[in-house]
Symmetry: C2
Subunit: 226 residues, 2 copies
């Protein structure tokens, strides 16, 4: 039975890769830069998206695709309220987004009116790591309240990140978080990763993160003929 | 392909139920009370286990089964250091524990020398909810730093809980956590759930939680003949 599961899973992952490649081609043709934002539940993905919209909008035209395990669309509503074209995906209990879900969401967005799409994955440090959604960068949001041991315990997620945003640094005075130990674990798994330390509450560090993102979103603006 | 997956998954879940029932019978025969502790990464499961050991050990004889996605056994080591018989399960990337993994761990513990087993699941608010491990109670650990919307967004986990431990309440003064809104969501999904509000850092609330657990662990001590 175990073998059966693995072969089915392999087929599914192959199919996912193909749809992901199609998503990426579609985004590239439209000149839209897209990121896959992943984290534990409550690390602050939605708050970071709100802050990013505040920093970049309307100069950078931003769309948001929000994945949740239920029909509860409060995160997408927060995104819409902050000025994004927002689409909510109900995964029906599924613990991660897959490329075909993002494909459906892309069809619901007006890509010609966007420079950047932020995909907010299901809050989960394990499962989303294995699924390419067809975006350009994977952004992991960690929060200092989760503890400094997380890279050591969830290596797949940290290994696959292009960018790491360490959030809630305003709470550092009230915690025993060892930033040096945390970052050592991150670098061990992923020496190339770009790190931003931010507080979505105070706004600290948001400018550096937003500048990084703006640069990529605007670089992509001219439509490329493939 | 979708249908194939579901039927395989159903077989796996049925097999899991059967092994879970065997685990429960084995624990009952040995007079050992067992709980399945689940949470987001970093909500404080290991810290709660350390505090519980401090409160109950050696009067209550405690074993710990710790599940992680990798070979990193630091949580089991923390449990052992705090005085538990501790077993580490490396799920090999799997996002949750299953009953057969707990069966293996039970075989590695001396049940006759235990009153209570705390199973620390993989940090994940989605996947572990669907898997019965054959224990007596499901304990969800939430932390105030995750935000008050979590019951609304991860209903399966909150609906299935017998006990909810809300951790890190020492940080409430520095957060915008709306306890009333959080608890309303919890009660909506799960009117019967037992709630404890604690801080593993200051020790607040640990006594009430530990007393609840002691009562169950000691009630179970006489070996029941089945």
């Amino acid at each position: 039975m175990g073998v059966k599961v693995i072969s089915v899973l392999e087929n599914i992952l192959q199919a996912n890769e193909q749809v992901a490649a199609e998503n990426r081609a579609r985004l590239d043709a439209a000149g839209v830069y897209a990121i896959n934002m992943m984290s534990s539940p409550g690390a602050g993905k939605t708050a970071l998206i709100e802050q990013t919209l505040r920093a970049l909008s309307p100069q950078v035209r931003i769309g948001m695709i929000n994945g949740d395990t239920t029909a509860a669309s409060m995160d997408a509503e927060r995104g819409a309220q902050a000025g994004a074209q927002a689409v909510h995906i109900n995964t029906g209990g599924n613990c991660h987004l897959e490329a075909h879900m993002v494909r459906q969401a892309l069809a619901a967005l007006d890509l010609s009116a966007l420079d950047l799409i932020i995909v907010e994955n299901v809050g989960n440090l394990v499962c989303p790591a294995g699924w390419d959604l067809g975006v350009h960068a994977r952004v992991v949001v960690a929060s200092v309240t989760e503890g400094a041991d997380k890279p050591y315990k969830y290596p797949s997620m940290y290994r696959g990140a292009d960018v790491l945003v360490l959030n809630k640094i305003d709470l550092l005075p009230y915690l025993d978080f060892d930033t040096e130990y945390f970052l050592r674990g991150v670098r061990l798994l992923n020496p190339e990763v770009q790190v931003f330390q931010v507080s979505c509450r105070t706004g600290e560090g948001i400018q550096a993160w937003s500048a990084w993102l703006r640069e990529r979103a605007m670089r992509n603006r001219p439509v490329r003929i493939r």
